[in-house]
Symmetry: D2
Subunit: 282 residues, 4 copies
Amino acid sequence: MKFKVSAELGYEIKAPSTLVINIHALRTAHQNVIEETLSTPSYIKTEQLTDVNGENRFMRLEVPEPCTISIKYDALVDNYYEVRNHKDVAEIPVAKFAPSVLPYLNPSRYCQSDKLYRLASNTFGKIGSSFEQVFAITDWIHKNVEYLSGFTNSETSAYDTVTQQAGVCRDFAHLGIALCRALTIPARYFTGYAYQLQPPDFHACFEAYLGGDWVLFDATRLIPLNGLVKIATSRDAADASIASMFGDVTPTITKASCQYADETPFKPIYYTRSIFDGVTYF
Amino acid sequence: MKFKVSAELGYEIKAPSTLVINIHALRTAHQNVIEETLSTPSYIKTEQLTDVNGENRFMRLEVPEPCTISIKYDALVDNYYEVRNHKDVAEIPVAKFAPSVLPYLNPSRYCQSDKLYRLASNTFGKIGSSFEQVFAITDWIHKNVEYLSGFTNSETSAYDTVTQQAGVCRDFAHLGIALCRALTIPARYFTGYAYQLQPPDFHACFEAYLGGDWVLFDATRLIPLNGLVKIATSRDAADASIASMFGDVTPTITKASCQYADETPFKPIYYTRSIFDGVTYF
Amino acid sequence: MKFKVSAELGYEIKAPSTLVINIHALRTAHQNVIEETLSTPSYIKTEQLTDVNGENRFMRLEVPEPCTISIKYDALVDNYYEVRNHKDVAEIPVAKFAPSVLPYLNPSRYCQSDKLYRLASNTFGKIGSSFEQVFAITDWIHKNVEYLSGFTNSETSAYDTVTQQAGVCRDFAHLGIALCRALTIPARYFTGYAYQLQPPDFHACFEAYLGGDWVLFDATRLIPLNGLVKIATSRDAADASIASMFGDVTPTITKASCQYADETPFKPIYYTRSIFDGVTYF
Amino acid sequence: MKFKVSAELGYEIKAPSTLVINIHALRTAHQNVIEETLSTPSYIKTEQLTDVNGENRFMRLEVPEPCTISIKYDALVDNYYEVRNHKDVAEIPVAKFAPSVLPYLNPSRYCQSDKLYRLASNTFGKIGSSFEQVFAITDWIHKNVEYLSGFTNSETSAYDTVTQQAGVCRDFAHLGIALCRALTIPARYFTGYAYQLQPPDFHACFEAYLGGDWVLFDATRLIPLNGLVKIATSRDAADASIASMFGDVTPTITKASCQYADETPFKPIYYTRSIFDGVTYF
């Protein structure tokens, strides 16, 4: 499926600074970036980097002097996902996880799974399969956590949200991840462009490792599960923030949008409890 | 320099379980593991893994049934470190950090640098070079944080320790890392075997990225800086715990020791404020 | 009902110090302290005080020099409680609370009700009457929080316990209080001697203000509700700790016991969900 | 000294609600409220209450139905304070504190002194007298905590502020109180109207119990110490919030102002380190 995505970031910069920007659609075997353009002021040195795993890519911008800058990104992306029925998929035990999966069991900055063992076990521990546990976690978050802009900030973590029960997509994702890891289900953060998100913005949700697939879950239920263009997956938002700023930098604009650009009509996939369908972006 | 290191871990296991163990001396171009033996009960399936960066190596043990197990590790390691004077070493700006270094600027589970910006800036921000800042951080921790066994636990983080001001080597390391990152100095957790540590145990300290080197700092000042055999470096203890346990597992024994095994006499290197000497294990 | 209570506190004191001790059975119109003795070393100056509300009474001890002391308290108390059916008791709105009740709606050190509004409302908000809400809170705590000695410490608060889900009687009480206040139900901490508590110790539970009575609840369910001798009620443990120590003081002994001393057989009252019975110590 | 104070509070009320309002100038032997008027809509039932100590007074408003209300308060107050030199004032030990003073040593919701013992002791423990310690605390806060509107919220406590180092007058006061109590110096929260505060608003600072007086300290240094009209003193903001709202209430207006109304010119008193002058409002 083709999507046209675009982003705009603006900054007020008062001293020589460095920015690390995570807004590029990821290039994978199953997400083809057909064309993309990034426009930045010519006096800014930009550099495209890939992270240590060779997967996520991001831009580093060196701003030599005070200025006001605008960064624009546009891409046409051909995306691929699979829907798999997990009802009879065999669970993979920890003893069989690939080494690359194991870190997603560890607690991280915003997902303190180590502090949530008893709560996760008391609340979700008796539910049948891992798939059903993640489904129940997603349901619980959707039901109990209020989507509320401005309630949380960049320091808010799953440990806060599980009690305070309000936040934005990032907080929903962190809580989902933390609860999964507390149940020994690997989980990771997913950021991307989201079709039909209102108001348009960058979006965050999470993936749980189930039966050998990274299955997408979104406790906000704000978008269809198959309307996402992946920017990055990571331990949590600490490793995939839209922008990391080093210097005297004030963000002024953060915009993102996602339009459907395929000929065939878009058929949204939503959560359905009765069916064990899992959406995976390979 | 040669060291003979050994470890013993014991567990009471009440149901089929999986253990991930981080006790092997790391093999690097400058740390030669001359010989090593790991002894585990024969009915336990063991597997040696390397992490996603191909650096740290660890063991996964599959325990099929309830039992009491003991794991023993012995190794003879030839170690190499360099002492470099950092007085006139040029600082490297964020804009020049290799991509592999950048993640060590991000906050992590036990090192919430994002919550310590103002404190770090108010307390250490006006100190001259990055090297001197890290030295001052290490000094401050040594002076203000009391080494106190049993005060903290596996959930304790730098955010707690900066205020509560008591803990063990792990807590000292986490606080050092968090304060460095808050000042835009990459920092990482270092676990190893430590010569002359009393009582003998595994040890943790931290490395700061200064002038292109990962320089070792130890705010506990319990050991000479050149008496360490590296097990792992990582974001923080979440990624390098001695043992991660999945299942019904209770640790019963945790022992580690480190003996000097070289012919030439050991010449300890301690902290010296006046000299800008940094110890690096390459 | 008559109870014989006794307590022993021991301290290692290394410098001139002051202790404030809360172990006396409270004297009220309905709790008659028939006889009591407090024995302390003769060189220690003791003073009996009553708090600002003229209700709780406590001892202040001035220890002039280093020593090891033992404080013993014995009392025979005639106690009175009432069981009232709250099914048809009219609820009292905030607008009618006496001024002395209002502070028990405020958050306090260990009962951060302000941080639990959404959680309390999402979990208990739709339950019928205030009495049933408190009953459901007590049930939920009993079911989800594990009684575990040594897991928590004197800094642990309701905000911790609601997530960590383990603790001792003090933590159970604080969580109950915090959840009540978050639902606009006044609640206070209750410490006392508890009959049939195993192992014998001081006990803590809580009272909720319902229909004009302070009704006793105990989420630990370790004792019959009618086996308590009140020492103090307060905002939380911060105001009613067994001992506050000022100086270089290390507690060495903390013992308490409670024996039934009446002729008529003791008829224990336990929780019964179906009946709206509330036990109140006037 | 005479001050003319006024306040305006506005609320959007969507269901029958109760408000408890703390805006009246306190009436004491040394603060004479010469005249005051409170205007509220006639259909709202208002009731003036005094707290359990018979000191603070506050209003309870019963709003029977949805509405938009505005509450206005105006008063002419004749105020009295004393400046006392504390250089040679004998310190009072805990053993001599009146029972009414003791609760101000306990930790409270926003002043978790129990978590700050080591920090307070390490940072201020070696400073000479209690007066000088409180002065040093006030200095330290003024120097390290940035006055920043909107950074904190009603859940922010001293434990947060000591690390995050930003906040408003309320946060400055809570931190001062917590650090004092951690050093066994009783301290309490003070809210009032403040002359020359820019922009005009309610103000909060704190009092420390030194040599038998409650001495005023204000780490914000935004106002002269002798320009305050007391509304309330309390454990912390939990007990003296401007407004406690029970029901579906949204605050829309919060205004306060304070004008000098005396014939003699106002002579401001500011902090002076060299002199041990303490301002006390009796």
